[in-house]
């Protein structure tokens, strides 16, 4: 028996007691700028822009994106999705999940760092904090001070702006479910319905507490994705890393000093990377589960390296294999697998949406009488057709019956529907006794749009008759 290799573990947060409950230490993020920060500013502009402008877009003189829950209809530009189309939502969610897996395997927590709503809103809130209360050291000082007029004004400004932004977020959210323009006027005339008001209040409070107070705790303790992302990482996943070989031993020095002579590495122990971290960790201890891959420490460290005239990249996006000098495999089975599945899902989704017929037919047979014999000896069956016009225009439909010879349909030549109407049409099929071959035969109803022949749908039902 050989002794198994032990993995050296560094105790990062030595705890005095075994008490697992830790009180939160408030994180004061230092303001910074840099390459990755600029990328984040762009992604925030895009995501917030899409979110806040979304409800105000118009299409065909109505709101372009509206999720009308009471009507059970989701309007998205030229599409109207009915409850029967819920499958598309499933595809979409599956695509979202696989896209997340794919990009996590490829580049770690890029979703968390750049586009997650929690990050986006928190960054926005931190910026508000920065312009009202100042930078990190000023905020620490301010919080330590007793309450004064100046402090109160600053805090008041900050929380007012936070609440205003939270309310606007909530208002926009409700605007996706209720026509936003009417909501806007209702706000002014204090005429908002109870439920809309409740949800606005709810999302205002939720946004304010999430982005203002909870912040990194959401990522650390609440978010399920943060919990299972670690199992998607492999040795070739891009992670934010500290180049220990180059950085250690760390230590302060003058800009003019030669670190090699002092026996120091490149890290000058300036704590910048710790001060800019939104989750308050020290990346120099290695990858930790709290790291959301936002690359703030990379920007911070690079700016210091520039000042010291050292090469950049002491903290950088890299992979485990790259750091250890092992071969890098970008195209690895796991990534290819996720990529193939993701591609298939996207193709499936697009093709099903593209080939979707905005017309649906349900056939309901009468439950009380299976068939009816008339005094002339013929047999009649009655069906209730539910014709759903899922287009955003009025449509006329032709209805055809097939599958049985010599059937006598009692069906109107043409029925007209309004946009998005569910038409209930009762029809009767009649057959002469000599034409009936069996007690139970299949019959097909075909509904076709008069204006657009591609809108056609066929459903089957049964024609029942007594023993002949």
């Amino acid at each position: 028996m050989s002794t198994p290799d032990k993995i050296a573990v560094k105790e990062i947060n030595p705890q005095d007691s075994g008490d697992l409950y830790k009180k939160r230490e408030k994180i004061y993020q230092r303001h910074l700028s840099g390459f990755f920060q600029n990328i984040r500013i762009v992604t925030i502009w895009i995501t917030l822009g899409v979110y806040f402008l979304g409800p105000w877009l118009s299409w065909d003189s109505r709101q372009a994106v509206l999720f009308d829950l009471p009507e059970r209809k989701f309007y998205i530009f030229w599409f109207t999705f009915w409850p029967q189309d819920f499958l598309y939502l499933s595809w979409l969610l599956i695509i979202a999940a696989f896209a997340l897996f794919f990009f996590t395997v490829l580049a770690g927590r890029v979703w968390c760092g750049y586009t997650c709503p929690q990050t986006v809103w928190t960054t926005f809130f931190m910026w508000i904090e920065h312009i009202t209360e100042g930078d990190r050291h000023q905020r620490i000082k301010l919080d330590a001070q007793p309450m004064s007029t100046k402090k109160f004004v600053k805090k008041f400004m900050k929380h007012s702006l936070w609440l205003a932004l939270s309310f606007w977020t909530a208002f926009t959210f409700v605007g996706y479910f209720a026509p936003v323009r009417e909501l806007w006027f209702d706000l002014f005339y204090l005429n908002v319905s109870g439920w809309a008001l409740f949800w606005m209040f709810f999302f205002t409070v939720a946004t304010y507490t999430n982005a203002g107070w909870l912040r990194e705790q959401v990522c650390m303790y609440m978010c399920p994705y943060a919990r299972f992302q670690s199992v998607m990482f492999d040795r070739d996943t891009l992670i934010v890393t500290y180049d220990e070989a180059r950085g250690e031993p760390r230590g302060a020095r003058k800009k003019t000093a030669n670190p090699d002579e002092m026996g120091l590495g490149s890290c000058i122990n300036c704590q910048m990377c710790v001060q800019v971290c939104p989750t308050g960790i020290d990346i120099r201890n290695g990858l930790q589960y709290e790291c959301i891959g936002c690359a703030a420490c990379i920007d911070a460290c690079d700016s210091i390296m520039d000042q010291m005239n050292y090469p950049r990249g002491l903290i950088k996006y890299s992979t485990e294999n790259a750091i250890e000098g092992k071969p890098i495999h970008i195209l690895r089975p796991r990534l290819i697998g996720y990529g193939v599945v993701l591609g298939l899902m996207i193709i499936t989704f697009l093709s099903t949406v593209y080939s979707r017929v905005p017309l649906e037919l349900d056939i309901i047979r009468d439950r009380n009488a299976l068939y009816r014999e008339t005094w002339q000896g013929t047999v009649e069956n009655t069906y209730t057709l539910k014709i759903m016009n899922k287009t955003q225009a009025a449509q006329d439909y032709h209805i055809d019956v097939s599958g049985l010879d010599n059937i006598i349909p009692h069906i109107p030549k043409e029925v007209s529907t309004l946009a998005g109407e569910l038409l209930t049409l009762v029809v009767t099929l009649e057959m002469k006794p000599e034409d009936i071959k069996q007690r139970n035969s299949t019959v097909y109803f075909t509904v076709k749009s008069a204006s657009d022949p591609s809108q056609e749908v066929t459903e089957e039902s049964r024609f029942l008759s007594p023993r002949n």
């Binding site: 075994g18 008490d19 009816r372 005094w375 009655t382 209730t384 009692h410 209930t424 009762v426 009767t428």
Partner: protein
């Protein structure tokens, strides 16, 4: 409530006891495992239990979490008291699923009644030409009438076809409304004994001849019997009578069937047609709309 009552006698107390044991047991467990300053074992120290080298440490729940648990237990007591939760107790609120349904129905009625009241002001002949009203009427018909008359209203054996222009009691909107409000009893007496076997056969032959067919009996003899026994209701010309709901026997439209066998059966045993009363089931405004819809079918 009818049916078997499962909460009789001791069962009732037994269920209450189980619920109480569960709730109080949870309460005791939480209270017993809480953080206590007088605990001999400090927080984070070993409890002395070890399983395969894994030690159990003393880590009580945080207070805020514990309090949430307490709140849920208090909530349970309140909830079980408000709603029928303790055995077969009715609950303080007096809630039942039926009463909830009735409230919801009432809410819907209040919502739609206004529209129906508007319709009620409009004469039925006019309503019968309005597409919206037809659609509403169709839904009312589907819920209340289709079970007998069929969803296409073309009737069935013993249930008249409402889409033709042949009416037992008359097809004016007012008549249809009257039928809906008060129901109808189509009474055809059993005449088998009075006519005798031969008589029935002859009358059947005569009735068949009215719609251009022949039967086994003697139609001439049948006609005499008919004038004696049947004409009182069906009329001397056998064209029926709207006052009595007696069908027209000359038009080859049959309520129960027009074959020789079925007509014989009808005369022998009589018929009991029943149209239910709807005035206690539907509001006058709804009946107004429904009558307009049925009227529109026959046009």
């Amino acid at each position: 409530m009818t049916g078997i009552d499962f909460t009789q006698g001791w069962v009732n107390g037994w269920i209450i006891t189980i619920v109480l044991i569960n709730l109080l047991g949870c309460l005791w467990l939480l209270w017993w495992t809480r953080k206590r300053p007088e605990d001999p074992i400090k927080d984070g120290e070993s409890m002395g239990h070890s399983f395969d080298g894994i030690e159990e440490l003393n880590n009580p729940l945080p207070h805020w979490w514990l309090n949430l648990f307490y709140i849920t237990i208090i909530f349970a007591f309140i909830y079980l008291t408000l709603y029928p939760g303790w055995g077969d107790a009715k609950g303080v609120l007096g809630w039942t699923s039926v009463s909830q349904w009735e409230t919801e129905v009432e809410k819907a009625e209040n919502r739609y009644d206004r529209l129906f009241e508007e319709y009620a002001q409009i004469p039925m002949e006019q309503l019968a030409t309005n597409d919206e009203v037809i659609k509403t009427g169709q839904r009312l018909f589907g819920n209340n009438c289709a079970i007998c008359h069929g969803s296409d209203a073309r009737g069935n054996k013993g249930y008249p076809n409402l889409t033709d222009s042949d009416w037992l009691y008359g097809g004016s909107p007012e008549k249809i409304k009257e039928t809906l409000n008060n129901g109808r009893s189509g009474m055809m007496p059993a005449l088998g004994a009075a006519l005798g076997e031969e008589g029935v056969k002859n009358v059947v032959a005569y009735v068949l001849s009215l719609s251009g067919r022949t039967g086994a009996g003697n139609a001439e003899a049948g006609k005499e019997k008919f004038n004696m026994m049947c004409a009182a209701c069906h009329g001397p010309d056998a064209k029926g009578n709207h006052m009595l709901g007696a069908p027209n026997l000359t038009d080859n439209i049959w309520l129960y069937g027009g074959t020789e066998a079925i007509i014989t059966e009808t005369i022998n045993g009589g018929r009991q047609g029943k149209m239910p009363v709807f005035k206690d089931k539907l509001t006058p405004a709804k009946i107004h709309v429904l009558a307009a819809y049925v009227y529109s079918l026959s046009k």
